[in-house]
Amino acid sequence: MRHVASWILFVSAVTLPAQSPPRDNALPQPANSGTIRGRVMATDGGEPLRNARVTLSGPSSVPPSFTDGDGRFLFSNLTSGRYVLLVRKAGYVQTRFGSRKPADPPMWIEITAESPAFSTEVRLPRSAAISGRILDDLGNPIELAQVSAERVTRTDGRVGTTTMAVTTTDDLGEYRLGGLPQGRFVVSARRPPSNDVRFTVVDGRPVAERPDGAPSRGYYPGVATLSEAQPIEVGAGEERSSVDFTIVQHRQPPTMVRLSFINEDGKPILATSMLASLDDPIAGTVIDTGGISETIAQRVDPGTWLLVARGVYGPGVAVVRIIVGSTDVSMPVQLRRGGRIIGRVITDGGPPPTDAIDIEARPVDPALARMPGPPSVARARAGDTFTLTGLIGTRELRIRSASHGWVVKAIQAGGRDLLDTPIEFNGDEQITGVEIVLTHDLAELSGTAGNSTVLVFPENADRYRDVRRLARWVRPNQDGRFLVDDMLPGTYFVLASDDVDDAQWANADYLEQFRSHATRVTLRAGERKSIALPQGANP
């Protein structure tokens, strides 16, 4: 019988699954006998926090509860399984049990028939706040501007942002971003979107125009792009007020872009379309040009824009880079059929997994990835063929929702590796004979790590396009034990650390500095290794 690991903690990505997948547990469990009790206190001062809201997510659906006058809470009648405990209280940082930083993976609390009761203390640090006013270039307050505080993250050389707080300004232009953990934040603001549509007639045809263009985003201290933004550092419980800034207007007025969509025969075709600013591909404006039409007329700020259009009836896609200056742009956009990937899902032996997997051709270009719209996804079982159509731009093949215990070993087509190599589609390219190889021959690494976070990453981490495929970042359970049971055979480095930067842990460069503190482990297929890690190895 397969050993059922009941305390695997964290699965390969920074985002935490909302609920743990159901596991086939061999022993019948007495239902509803578990309890989780605890006390919520402030980190500094240590006084109990009353009326803190405690929520529990896990196999039982449990209504949230508030701590009593002594900071205590109790959940009872819980079924066995893994729970995540989340505590929030106004003025304190929202905290999950076992996370020392908000983005840290939490610890599961494991309730079993053998140990049905768990008792803990959760300590909440005081939250920081950033406040100020958002003004226009005349010095007038901007009402209902959308203001956000973001952390800048770096993964594989790509810059991204994680939103930590959002709010809107009031009629005085004032905002307050509260509940922040200590850290560095980029503050940005965007004018409220305008729904104004103006109708004009061009060549005897009606055209709906957005007279305002897209609301532009501005960053503290009054600059237009993320790279010029000046981050604000706040400590625990610190207040930074008067973070006032102006949303810079482009000096040039917005330029009109008129596009008409045509099919491969040059006939007009109905399409939906979006424009994304390439001047700031991470955080720049994305405009939904609105509705379904054969033509669009949209005012945009001068700069470089990426247009993505999709045909409404029948296939057709287009990705066009448009450089907008001060003169109006008018051009046809031809929708092409788009590229295709045809392939098969296979296993490297043994009985195939029962569940189908979702195969996604994910856009690599960050601007393209930010475009809302249906993802290119196909679903297939082992042995089945799959087809992805309508592909445009640079794409990478990724697997979503594989059954537990199955990992992608290789993706190849005619000897060409597609797992760590993106594919470029410009028109109607077709890639056939793709094989997605799933393996069940995995290794398992377990052990003790005290209260530290466990980091596992492959030797030669820089060889992989996305090292998260092989690297793992897990928290031990309440007893200090950890387990990673879905590792491809190979050579890894493993260590326990108290200071992993969640914003860049999946960077090969970042991981490199941990090598000298890590233990080198070689795992063969089917092998189970246990290791006692020294706590808190920090580079």
Binding site: R50, N51, S61, P63, P64, S65, F66, G69, A90, G91, S127, A129, D136, L138, N140, P141, I142, E143, L144, T167, D170, D171, L172, G173, R176, G178, G179, N195, D196, V197, R198, F199, V201, G204, R205, P206, P211
Partner: protein, 532 residues
């Protein structure tokens, strides 16, 4: 709508590029100082969110808009921090003047005075006096809707959430009296254990809410209050169709309309075996509605912190009401369009979605049949030829003209209902003068019955009419009874039927004149508008 507008635009533009039209004006504050950066927009009349042109005022508050506007339009000026105004509006919230211009026209002095709006600022705390964040704060007004005093949302004023200091600020308010509520999550959801929706200054009972008086262009500060901790409990039960079989879905709950809160219903959690559940319900009176196809059923539930687990809500198939309309006239008359409606007598026991049960009368023989009447209702004639009024509704010679009749089951169906209309229409007419004996042309005349039993929402014994430009009024078709008639000021912004509220009638009784109306009688009565 848009397609029609576009085709109009095209038909008027296809031939040749038309000459443009220009409007100019100025936007100033109440003290006459110019407002720079105000947005002035040309709005299509049938589609007010569609701008056909816009401009921003300069430092002297001036603007100019040029465009091609083949359709009538209005002009609006807005600026954050100020109440939006339409050109030519008589008072806030009424639409402004409709302007039509020919190509080549220029119109000057489309001017606006914008008043600074008011705001309410405060904090929401818990029972320990510590701030609560994410609390939804809503502003209400007391309105008179469907014959009841109710709390209603204030149009165009958005709800706001408290920040982590518990602070909120609600802006954009016109002068007036407001009621503030605060709540965490939705009533009846999993997300609100133990906190009731609380009204300033700190009560879960809307009838005990304090009014916050807001003057023009001010910030009302320190409207602080604590959410009230209550014992919430679950309501569990089963929904059954009229044939006794349980069914899943179609169950909603809302506070009883008797509580005076016009809150929207919330859906419950339902199960395939017909069970339903509303968790976390605060104490109070509620009505649960089950809907299956055309079938409805209701149960009233009073919550006081204890779980209730055996509520059965069974839907009813509906009753039929059939009968005949008889014209009891001096003149020979053919049947015109007549509509009979079974009007809900109790808002708690009528479909939450509204709607009545009605039928048109067959013109050949006066026969009508209403299908699927459910709930407690009164029969009314909602449409009849001019010059006629209702005399009596009876069944087997029993008068049921204003009787409340329960409907729902098949056996509650009514047959052989006789609706008698008469062309002997009563009338009370006269003049209204103000304190200086001048015609009170802005007044309203209201008539209401002496008998309190006849004072109910939608009663045919209530009547209201406007005073003509000559200062005359005429109230027709009052059913025979003893009435109190009074002239009242048309107060701006008030609901048309607000005078029917019990406390208003009490006040009106002092200045009203007593009139007995009998069959077909014409009475003459001159009224004086009493000063307030």
């Amino acid at each position: 709508m848009i397609a029609l507008l576009l085709s109009l635009l095209i038909s008027q533009n296809a031939a040749q590029p038309p000459a443009t039209t220009t409007i100019r004006g100025r936007v100033v504050r109440a003290d006459g100082q110019p407002i720079a950066g105000a947005r002035v927009r040309v709005l299509m009349v049938p589609s007010p969110s569609t701008s056909m042109g816009d401009a921003t005022t300069d430092e002297d508050g001036r603007y100019e808009i040029t465009g091609t506007w083949p359709l009538p339009f209005r002009v609006a000026a807005s600026k954050s921090g100020y109440t939006t105004a339409q050109y030519g509006e008589r008072r806030g919230s009424e639409p402004g003047e409709t302007i039509t211009m020919k190509p080549g026209d220029i119109r000057e002095r489309i001017d606006f005075v914008l008043r600074r709006h008011s705001a309410i600022v405060g904090r929401v705390l818990d029972e320990y006096g510590e701030p609560l964040d994410g609390v939804v704060v809503v502003v209400h007004q007391v309105r008179f809707i469907n014959g009841r005093r109710q709390l209603a949302l204030v149009p165009d004023i958005a709800a706001r959430r408290t920040n982590e200091l518990g602070r909120y600020r609600i802006w954009g308010l016109q002068p007036g009296d407001y009621i503030i509520s605060a709540s965490i999550g939705h009533v009846g959801s999993d997300d609100v254990p133990d906190y009731a929706t609380t009204y300033f200054p700190g009560t879960p009972n809307p009838s005990e809410a304090g009014r916050v008086r807001v003057a023009a262009s001010v910030d009302v500060l320190n409207i602080d209050f604590s959410l009230v901790r209550v014992r919430t409990a679950a309501i569990k039960g089963t929904t059954l169709a009229s044939n006794g079989e349980p069914f899943q879905g179609g169950v909603r709950m809302r506070p009883s309309r008797r509580s005076g809160v016009g809150l929207d219903p919330v859906g419950g959690r339902t199960f395939p075996d017909g069970r339903f559940e509303f968790p976390n319900v605060a104490p109070g009176d509620y009505v649960i509605e089950a809907v299956k196809g055309n079938e409805y059923g209701w149960r009233a539930v009073t919550m006081n912190g204890e779980d209730i687990s055996d509520v059965t809500v069974q839907t009813m198939p509906g009753s039929a009401i059939s009968g005949r309309v008889i014209l009891d006239g001096k003149r020979l008359q053919t049947m015109g369009r007549v509509t009979i409606e079974a009007v809900a007598a109790d808002p708690d026991f009528a479909p939450f979605t509204g709607g009545g049960a009605s039928a048109d009368v067959r013109t050949t023989d006066g026969v009508f049949q209403i299908e699927k009447a459910i709930g407690t209702r009164r029969l009314r004639v909602t449409q009849m030829p001019t010059g006629w009024m209702l005399k009596r509704i009876s069944i087997n010679d029993t008068d049921i003209t204003d009787a409340v009749v329960p409907f729902g089951a098949e056996k509650q169906s009514l047959k052989d209902v006789e609706v008698v209309l008469t062309d002997e229409v009563t009338e009370v007419a006269g003049t209204v003068t103000d304190a200086r004996a001048a015609p009170a042309i802005d007044a309203l005349v209201v008539a209401f019955p002496m008998d309190p039993e006849r004072r109910f929402a939608g009663s045919r014994f209530f009547a209201m009419t406007h005073v003509s430009a000559a200062g005359a009024y005429r109230v027709r078709a009052l059913p025979p009874a003893t009435y109190l008639v009074a002239a009242i000021d048309r107060s701006p912004g008030a609901d048309e039927d607000a005078w029917q509220d019990a406390t208003s009638l009490e006040r009106l009784t002092r200045d009203a004149t007593l009139v007995a109306v009998t069959d077909g009688q014409h009475a003459s009565l001159d009224l004086k508008l009493s000063p307030r």
